[in-house]
Structure formats: C-alpha cells, structure tokens
C-alpha cells in the first residue's frame, strides 16, 4: 500500500511536469486555430446552376483562360514552358484539367471574379496602387456575370476526374507543387517516386550536362518565384513532422491565420483534396507510419506479457522472503 502511495506521488509530479512543459507551454506559445472544414465562409455561395457547354465557350473564348493555362485533359498544352511562365507571371499558372476536382467550386467562382480577393493577397496586389495580380479579373462576356462564372465552374467540374481518381500526388502537385519542392524521394506500394521540383519530377540523367541543364532550369524558375513571393517557399519534405496535420490544414485553409501579411495565397482546395495533400506529405515525410503502428501494437502486447511474467517471478522469489 505504501508503495502504491509512493507511485501515486511520483506519477502526479511527473504528469504535472509533463502538462506544464507540453500542453500548457505550447498553448501559451501558439494560438489555437480551429479549422472551418474548408468551407470558406467569407466567400459567397454559388447560387446559379452552371451550364458546362456554355462554360466551355467562355473558358476557351471570352474568358481567355487558355491564354495562360493549359488544359491537358482537352488536349491543350500550356502556352509556355514552366520557366518562361514563371518569368512572365511570377509563378507557373496551373493546368486546369483537375481544378474542378481539387478546388472548392465557390472558391473557383470567387477566383475568376477577383483573384486577389479569393487568394487573400489583397495586401500585395492593390489595384488602386497599380499592383495588378497576374491573373486578371473576369468582368463578364456581356451576359449575367454570376451566371457566366457558374458556367465556367461547371465546365471545369465536367472535365475534372472524379474525386476518388485524384491521387495524393496529383492534389499536391497542382495545389502546392508549383511553389514548393519536395526533395525526398518516396516509396509507395513498392514503387520509387523521384524528387519533386517546382517544374516537375526530377528525371534520372545519365549525363552530367543534362542534369546541370535541368538544375539550371529549376534555379531559374526559383529565382522568378523568389522575386514574386519575396522569399523562396520552403521545401515540404519533412513538413508533416515539423508542422503536423492540424497546422498544415489550418494554414492551407487560410495562411493569414498564422502569418499575417504572408505572400502565400489561399489556394482554395476542397476538404477531400486537403486530406490528400496531407496523405502525400505523410507518404513522403512519415512513410513508415503504418509499420510503426503495426510494430507498436506487437511490442505493446509483448511487453505486457513480459511485465506479467516479471511480476510472477518476483512473487515466486519473494514468497520465501516475507
């Protein structure tokens, strides 16, 4: 009984110390931000039902989307290569083939209408001061503006793959991968995937010249990006361990939450795409998590048995001593 009391005292002081240096201290260091589930409550809801046919005409025509964006799903490559695009716009505009599956519809609508507002970078792009966002606002093709935007969104959704066809890597590459590199290769289902640079996967080169040429291109892209963003966006290889799921989600949802005035835009991914991005970061930075859980379970079972046998041995030995 006395030993149990001593154990209780030791446990209480240990837990108290733990509570103070971990949950309590961290609550004092970082404000807690609750996720709003990628609902983008500040943006107006889509009220009009879109017509994909008409949307296609707008995207290809009056909307002038394809002047900058490629749509590979429709057989339209990007008008410029990644490096030239970054040198012209600051960052390579995304291919629109998967936009309808990765981004929240009402975000897309808001983006077409007023990019700087939807992306939450109005502090950087103030039209009244002549700071134009590289993506121009869509002012309408003569009809009802909201209806036209709804049509364009409907078109993007109609060409997009189904939600379940979007892989974690696809979601990452489209939403994050034009600014952020991941230099860790990763193994998924027995297949080795190469490192990711802002201009795509890094191929295997046989000749040093080819490798240097590729790296020069990456550096050129990064230089343009750095000029545009103010700083080179970080490599995300270990972000799942350095930031954790909650931080990444609430940060992506609204970067201004943590870094007031950051140049990082709100990218407007939907909740499923956000999950996929997290999964991709886990595949890269915490690839042994399933193994850890499996081994952990077995070790815990074993160690319980070990402890039980140790207790029984002690009882056997000490029977003679009392």
């Amino acid at each position: 009984m006395k030993e149990l009391f001593i154990l209780a005292v030791v446990t209480v002081f240990t837990l108290l110390t733990y509570y103070l240096v971990e949950p309590f201290a961290h609550s004092q260091m970082h404000k807690h931000i609750e996720s709003e589930g990628f609902a983008y409550k500040d943006l107006p809801a889509l009220t009009k039902k879109g017509d994909a046919e008409h949307g296609k005409e707008l995207v290809m025509g009056a909307g002038a989307c394809v002047g900058c964006h490629g749509i590979k799903a429709e057989g339209m490559p990007a008008p410029m290569d990644a490096v030239t695009a970054a040198q012209s716009y600051g960052v390579n505009p995304p291919d629109l083939s998967t936009a309808g599956a990765i981004y929240e519809p009402k975000f897309l609508a808001a983006l077409i209408k007023n990019p700087a507002h939807a992306l939450m970078v109005e502090h950087k792009f103030d039209e009244s001061k002549g700071q134009m966002h590289p993506m121009t606002s869509f002012y309408g093709a003569g009809g009802d503006l909201d209806q036209e935007i709804a049509d364009m969104v409907a078109y993007l959704q109609s060409i997009a793959p189904k939600a379940e066809e979007v892989t974690p890597a696809m979601a990452f590459e489209n939403a994050c991968g034009r600014c952020h590199a991941i230099h860790y290769e990763y193994n998924l289902d027995g297949e080795l995937h190469p490192s990711w640079t802002q201009i795509g996967e890094k191929p295997v080169f046989k000749k040093k010249q080819d490798e240097l040429k590729f790296e020069t291109k990456v550096l050129d892209y990064q230089e343009a990006l750095k000029k545009y963003m103010g700083t080179l966006p970080p490599d995300l290889s270990m972000y799942i361990r350095s930031r954790g799921e909650h931080y990444i989600k609430t940060f992506v949802e609204n970067p201004q939450n943590y870094l007031k005035g950051t140049a990082m835009p709100r990218v407007g991914v939907n909740a499923e795409a956000a999950e996929k991005i997290i999964e991709h970061l886990e595949n890269v930075g915490d690839s042994k998590r399933h193994k850890r859980e499996e081994v952990g379970k077995n070790v815990m079972i074993y160690i319980f048995i070990f402890a039980i046998f140790a207790i029984l041995w002690k009882k056997e030995v000490w029977r003679d001593l009392h």
Partner: protein, 178 residues
C-alpha cells in the same frame, strides 16, 4: 529452495519470455544491415546496344562492378559458331552478337585487359587468358567470365533482370549466377 541462486519455475519462464524479446529485436537489427531500397533500385542498368562499335571494348558499370561489352565482328561470330559452347556465350540482339560479361577475372577478381589485335583478354595479376567470347584459354581462371543477369528488351539490354535467354545460360551451365 536450498540454493538461493537457483531459479524457480517462474524465473525460468521469465527468462524465456525475455529471450523471445531479445531474439525478436535481432530481427530488426538484421533488417537494419540490409542494403537500402535505393541501393536495390539502382541495381538495374539499361544499355542501348545500338551504340557499340565492332571489336571495341566498352566497360559499363552495373551494381558497382565493371561490365565488358564487346560487339563481335562477322569474322569473330563465324569463328565462335565453330564451337557451340562459344556461340552460346554471346547475346544476340537483332542481327548482332555481343559479349556482355562481368569484367572480373574468375580467378581472384582482377580486371583483365582487352587486346583488340589478339582478340583476347589478359589478366595481368596471374596471367589468365580469355578469348573474345570470354571463355578461358589459359589457367589459372577456373571458368570463363561470368555473365550478369540480363533481359533483352528490343534494342536494349536490362542488366539486373533475368530474361529467358539468361535463364537458359544458367541451365546449360554457360555461366554461374553472378
């Protein structure tokens, strides 16, 4: 219990449980010594066979080891065909024949040098000689140059994968498993 150092039943049982844990941890230790996945993934080399010139030895690298590639001239092929054991050592891609072999002497692992005039390989370490098909012609090497696992893929040769032609060579004893 007379002797206080002797363990009772539970003591032995506990020792056994602890032993199981120790052995299980040996498995994790063994795995930590295994070659890394990136090392294993790099275990394949693809050679473009259209780029080689006749009777000119090119040394490629596969799994850190030298690989001899020697495209045969028509005359060499004719000579090799006289002896079925020789022609079987060569790899036929399209209409061309190649010697593709591990460039390590089967005696003690030195790298033999090729003499294009004699069309033979001489290992300077202990004087072993091989002909242009990699067959040994003078001791001490115990056998011809070993052939790495390969797979023919059109015009290309994938080293590290075992294709049907390689498996046949293993069966007929042309080469040992490298």
């Amino acid at each position: 219990m007379k002797n206080n150092s002797r363990r009772g039943f539970m003591g032995k049982a506990f020792g056994a449980v602890a032993g199981v844990g120790a052995v299980a941890s040996l498995y994790a230790m063994k795995r930590s010594w295994d070659p890394l996945p990136s090392v294993k993934a790099a275990g394949f080399t693809v050679l473009d066979m259209s780029a080689y010139k006749e009777n000119e030895l090119v040394t490629e690298k596969w799994r850190g080891k030298p690989i001899f590639v020697l495209k045969q001239t028509a005359e060499m092929v004719k000579k090799a065909k006289e002896n079925p054991k020789d022609i079987e050592r060569l790899i036929k891609i399209g209409n061309d024949y190649f010697l593709v072999a591990l460039g390590l002497c089967t005696h003690l692992g030195c790298i033999p040098g090729y003499n294009p005039d004699d069309k033979s390989f001489l290992c300077a370490c202990h004087g072993g000689l091989y002909d242009f098909t990699g067959e040994v012609t003078k001791a001490p090497p115990p056998r011809g140059l070993d052939i790495p696992p390969f797979k023919i893929d059109g015009n290309k040769l994938v080293l590290g994968e075992e294709g049907p032609e390689y498996k046949k060579m293993l069966e007929t004893g042309i080469t040992l498993k490298a």
